[in-house]
């Protein structure tokens, strides 16, 4: 059996925030949750977006850090900034392609998801992926994922022209080899004029689902 790995399938997420609640139970950042869970746009969707650190092979956060405060462990886990070094500039927060690091103003330090290093370094599974009820976040072997999921896990991302390889996998359909963000389609410029005050996302309208014929009550 190969080693355990982290797999994320955003589309499974039900927004229950179990991961957020469990994250703060982790000993490396007790009482502070490091995982992100966004509600994409509650006004017309129930879609939610969980985001853990993807642990880039060459972390952009570390490259843009002026204080040289962000380090990777030998097993490829990018840690929270080193406390003595971090100068709280937030470069990493703004540059991370996955929007992961969190600047903690009170302690003037960047902290981030660290793969539950207190757990994974001793063979336990991370808190978020262990508790995740939908298993949008899963920590298992690649064989097990292959056996139980459709599609396949990949770890190649494209942002603009930047290609990013990560330690964490994302589940995509069989033919897909990389996740490429369509920046033009996702920017507010893509909205037809007059643009509604909401950014692009998938919308749902129950009223529209009822519209085959007018509904007259009973």
């Amino acid at each position: 059996m190969s080693e355990l790995a982290f797999f994320i399938d955003h589309s499974r997420c039900i927004g229950c925030r179990s991961c957020v609640q469990a994250c703060e139970e982790c000993d490396t950042h007790k009482g502070v949750s490091m995982i992100h869970l966004e509600t994409v746009e509650r006004a017309d969707s129930v879609q939610t977006a969980p985001q853990v650190c993807m642990h880039c092979v060459e972390p952009i956060c570390a490259r843009v850090c002026p204080a040289d405060a962000i380090k990777q462990t030998p097993d490829g886990v990018t840690q929270s900034s080193l406390k003595p070094r971090c100068i709280g500039c937030s470069n990493c927060v703004l540059a991370c392609p996955f929007g992961v690091p969190k600047y903690q103003a009170a302690i003037d330090q960047m902290m981030k998801c660290d793969y539950c290093y207190d757990r994974t370094s001793v063979g336990k599974r991370p808190m978020c992926a262990t508790v995740c009820p939908s298993q949008a976040l899963a920590f298992t072997t690649i064989e097990e994922i292959g056996r139980t999921r459709r599609g396949r896990p990949i770890r190649r991302w494209v942002f603009g022209d930047e290609v990013v390889e990560t330690k964490v996998y994302v589940m995509v359909p069989e033919a897909v080899e990389e996740v490429r963000l369509d920046l033009v389609a996702l920017s507010s410029k893509a909205e037809p004029a007059p643009a509604p005050p909401r950014a692009p996302h998938e919308r749902f309208d129950v009223a529209a689902l009822l519209e085959e014929e007018p509904v007259h009550g009973r």
Binding site: H10, A49, P66, D161, E162, A175
Partner: protein, 354 residues
């Protein structure tokens, strides 16, 4: 702003290292009045300090060669000395030196135990440095006063500054000041080890490099205190061995300064620089997210970051859009929207109008 350095990094940094070491050598020569006041017994210490100065100069220059560091270093000074902002900057500098360096409030918020450890080590080391460097450079020396055996005379740069009776309360304080500083550091080390042993999170992420400085400081302090003990209580028992051991541990610590965890002492002032950078950013225009339209950073910062990314060959720019223009929250949403969309495109159903 131009942030890519010219020439070889190593040559450049070596130059800075030599310059720093040269300044220290010059300081020793001038301060000891052409080595007249220089205590030859302290040569190894002075030598190690010169080496450390070279290392620190070299390392600091190398550090500043990193594009992000270079940019914020320059920006920080530039903004600090902007004439219009200078008066208020100076006022804030005072306030920030107090809260960040004297009382170290930000460390307290990270944890009381961590703060206690750091505070004691910090002031202990500072006190020791304030005594030992001037002594070993020959800037400060003590002599019995010519006119009285009961008085002691202190000289700074060869100039007599003050004298005190040997039986006064000041005397032991002056002679044992290093023991006081060692005790302070040991208190801090106690807190540090107590915290590390108890905190499961700290245990998980700590590496051997986190412990080396603690071991070094511990050795310096203990051997230093034992020297006093040997002199005053056990009639010089193993004094020779202890003094050599102490010297070796101090020299090792000095040499280690540029390389290990101690280097943060010299990086830390950048925290001040960043605080002025943030002030300037907040006062200026803000960058609005290309997706949600909400401000998410100062335009200054967002713009500088693009420059840094370019220098680092991070290619966030694409035809018609630049990834740096999206706020972190929208990036997270875009990832989910994109991943979900890929599945939709591959046939995963969605609630549809019939």
């Amino acid at each position: 702003m131009e942030i890519t350095g010219r020439g070889s990094d190593a040559a450049h940094a070596t130059g800075w290292g030599l310059l720093t070491a040269g300044v220290v050598v010059l300081g020793i020569l001038l301060g000891s009045r052409g080595l007249k006041d220089f205590d030859t017994a302290l040569v190894p210490y002075a030598g190690a300090t010169i080496f450390a100065a070279f290392g620190l100069g070299y390392r600091h220059a190398m550090w500043l060669r990193r594009p992000p560091t270079r940019l914020y270093w320059r920006r920080g000074w530039q903004l600090f000395f902007t004439p219009r902002r200078l008066p208020s900057n100076l006022a804030r500098l005072g306030e920030r030196l107090w809260s960040n360096f004297v009382v170290q409030r930000f460390i307290f918020r990270r944890g009381a135990l961590r703060w206690a450890a750091h505070w004691w080590i910090f002031w202990g080391c500072l006190l020791a440095a304030a005594v030992t460097f001037p002594l070993s450079f020959g800037w400060v020396r003590f002599e019995t006063a010519r006119d009285s055996q009961a008085l002691y005379q202190a000289f700074v740069f060869g100039i007599p500054v003050f004298r005190f009776p040997l039986d006064s309360w000041i005397a032991p304080l002056v002679f044992q000041v290093l023991d006081v500083s060692a005790a302070m550091v040991l208190v801090g080390l106690g807190f540090a080890l107590w915290r590390r042993a108890r905190d499961r999170g700290a245990l998980a992420v700590q590496q051997s490099s986190d412990l080396i400085p603690l071991v070094l400081l511990f050795t310096v302090c203990v051997t230093g205190i034992l020297l006093t003990v040997s002199t005053h209580f056990v009639r010089g028992f193993h004094y020779e061995f202890l003094s050599q051991f102490h010297a070796v541990s101090v020299i090792f610590t000095l040499v280690y300064l540029p390389f290990g965890k101690f280097f943060h002492i010299f990086q830390r002032p950048a925290q001040l620089s960043i605080s002025f950078y943030k002030d300037a950013g907040a006062a200026g225009p803000q960058a609005a997210c290309a997706r949600c339209g909400q401000p998410f950073a100062s335009a200054l910062h967002a713009g500088d970051l693009k420059t840094v990314e370019e220098a680092l060959s991070i290619r966030y720019a694409a035809a018609g859009a630049h990834y740096q223009e999206f706020c972190p929250a929208c990036r997270r949403k875009m990832l989910a929207i994109t991943q979900d969309g890929i599945w939709r495109a591959a046939g995963r159903p969605r609630p549809e109008r019939p």
